[in-house]
């Protein structure tokens, strides 16, 4: 285990050190101490290393992650794992706005609650939130899966495209063009796999599935009032 004191050694040194690791490194496990809410911790990683952040972080923790597993033993600020391509990001606490925004791949797990706009413009990422999510989550979500073990706030899935949204609890309201959809066996399988990988004991059968009604895919003036 390599330990990096962020307060003592600075952000640039941290990210450049982690970014230099490649598939052949023996330094596969890293521990970051004294994060103290700093922004852009462990961003742009591109190797199969394990990074544990001992505390809470600011904006964009694990941004654009590829291959790495980043675990935050605390809560995260806005934009955790934004535009993630692959790998895993696990947040033991809560997440602020835009968690997993525009992510293309990989798995983001939030063991607490996530704030508004979780999964905004997601493009293939899988997100599992053990708690609740705020308003406008999965706005314009294009692809991937958003799993919410708790409740969802207002305007879930507004203007979403092909992303799948699974919610176990209540949904305060659905956004434009988002509807409840049939939960078919293949969805149960997807959900079962995601819940297992995210360490949740929730049962897939307890969830409802939501997604695009595909009525706004091509502009129609008669739908103008939907916007």
């Amino acid at each position: 285990m390599q330990t990096y004191d962020l307060e003592a050694n600075g952000l640039r040194g941290l990210n450049s050190t982690l970014q230099e690791q490649n598939g052949g490194t023996n330094k596969t496990a890293w521990e970051i101490v004294n994060p103290k809410g700093s922004h852009a911790i462990a961003v742009g990683l591109d190797s199969p290393i394990d990074v544990t952040v001992k505390g809470s972080t600011g904006y964009y923790c694990a941004g654009m992650n590829q291959q790495a597993t980043v675990r935050v033993e605390g809560s995260v600020g806005p934009g955790v794992a934004e535009n993630m391509m692959s790998g895993q990001v696990i947040v033991e606490g809560d997440a602020s706005q835009y968690a997993g925004a525009t992510g293309h791949g990989g798995l983001l797990v939030i063991k607490g609650n996530a704030s508004s706009r979780c999964g905004i413009s997601m493009k293939g990422i899988d997100i599992v939130v053990h708690g609740n999510i705020g308003h406008m989550c999965a706005f314009m979500a294009q692809a991937g899966n958003l799993v919410v073990c708790g409740d969802a706030g207002d305007a879930l899935g507004d203007s979403c495209y092909e992303a799948r949204l699974f919610v176990r609890g209540s949904v305060k309201s659905l956004g434009a063009d988002c509807i409840e959809k049939e939960m078919r066996p293949e969805h149960i399988e997807i959900l079962k796999d995601l819940l297992e990988r995210a360490g949740s004991d929730a049962k897939p059968e307890e969830f409802k599935r939501y997604g695009s009604a595909r009525q706004l895919y091509n502009f129609d003036v008669d739908n103008a009032q939907a916007y």
């Binding site: 922004h39 600011g58 654009m64 934009g79 535009n83 293309h104 413009s121 493009k123 895919y217 502009f219």
Partner: protein, 443 residues
Amino acid sequence: MDNKNIPRTEPIQSATFTNPINAEIRRAAATGIYDIRGGGAKRRVPHFDDLLFLGASVSRYPLEGYREKCETKVTLGTRFAKKPIELDIPVTIAGMSFGALSGPAKEALGRGASAAGTSTTTGDGGMTPEERGHSSKLVYQYLPSRYGMNPDDLRKADAIEVVVGQGAKPGGGGMLLGQKISDRVAEMRCLPKGIDQRSACRHPDWTGPDDLEIKILELREITDWQVPIYVKVGGTRPYYDTALAVKAGADVVVLDGMQGGTAATQDVFIEHVGLPTLACIRPAVQALQDLGVHREVQLIVSGGIRTGADVAKAMALGADAVAIGTAALIALGDNDPKWESEYQKLGTTTGAYDDWHEGMDPAGITTQDAELMKRVDPVDAGRRLRNYLKVMTLEAQTIARACGHNHLHNLEPEDLCALTMEAAAMARVPLAGTDWYPGKAGF
């Protein structure tokens, strides 16, 4: 009295309800939808044509046109980036997406820009290998939609341009209509083929200048502080937008006036939102000067740049470089008279064709149609663009020498006068034949 002998008044067309306005009313009544088109503002606004250079005289002496050097090089991104961009000429190619433009057109832009020693820019939709391969200097746009955004391409870029807005539609998003979504475009954007693809009007993971500062920090950390980070804004509040971009950590500010083009936006947006390019430059330069970073943070101006005179005027007002979009497309072959019969079939004419979003461009530039795009030979079109860029540069040098300057950057507002009160006020240069402009203190 015989009615036939009563003198008739002459039919008078309304200056308010003009034929184009009436046609638009009828079109709106028939369809129930606003008009969407490409390009920038077509209305007459105060522009560089309303400025003149004074040239050398007794008080200043010129440089010899064919003997004395007039430098054109520009370096962008000297504030924080480890590798600033070095360009041979101060005319760059503005961001235009693969999707909005055909693959051959994007390749031609790369070829032409590289041959002229300048940069080209991606657009909404990501970076293609062809574009990267043919562009010696490529600026990667970081847009609200994040279509095609990935860290691998980010690290391949020579600069990153965080797009906050553009002059044709400041405050607006975009739409790439389904007919232009080919398999490849759909795959790059992670969306189904054939659907209208919306581009958001604001970024998904930051709002406001304080967030932008952190976003720029993240981008720098991901790219090892190697490449410059530009911030592009549409011309609306140029003083404050420039100041906030600088405070957020931008290396370069790109300022796009309302004549700047778009692939597809509502006509009402293009014509009625934003400032003329001419009105944007001095407030932006003032902001840079007030913050003590003029020339340290470079200013790129775009929106209606057509000639070397426009380049020289923008630089005299304080810009470090300019960007061209529409003019570059025309150099490639857009709106060429040789396609007039086909423009006629589309209900338009050469010079007026702007339905770029429909994907039926006879010139093969703003289309994804496999047959139409064959009309663009990337090598020939790239050569034309190179020639045009060279001509613009020569023209700007000609003017700079006449004003006694050995570098385009030495052009200054004192080299200019204005032909109209409006231009004088916007450019803050004297009305021709006077030493006064509206708003000047002491009058």
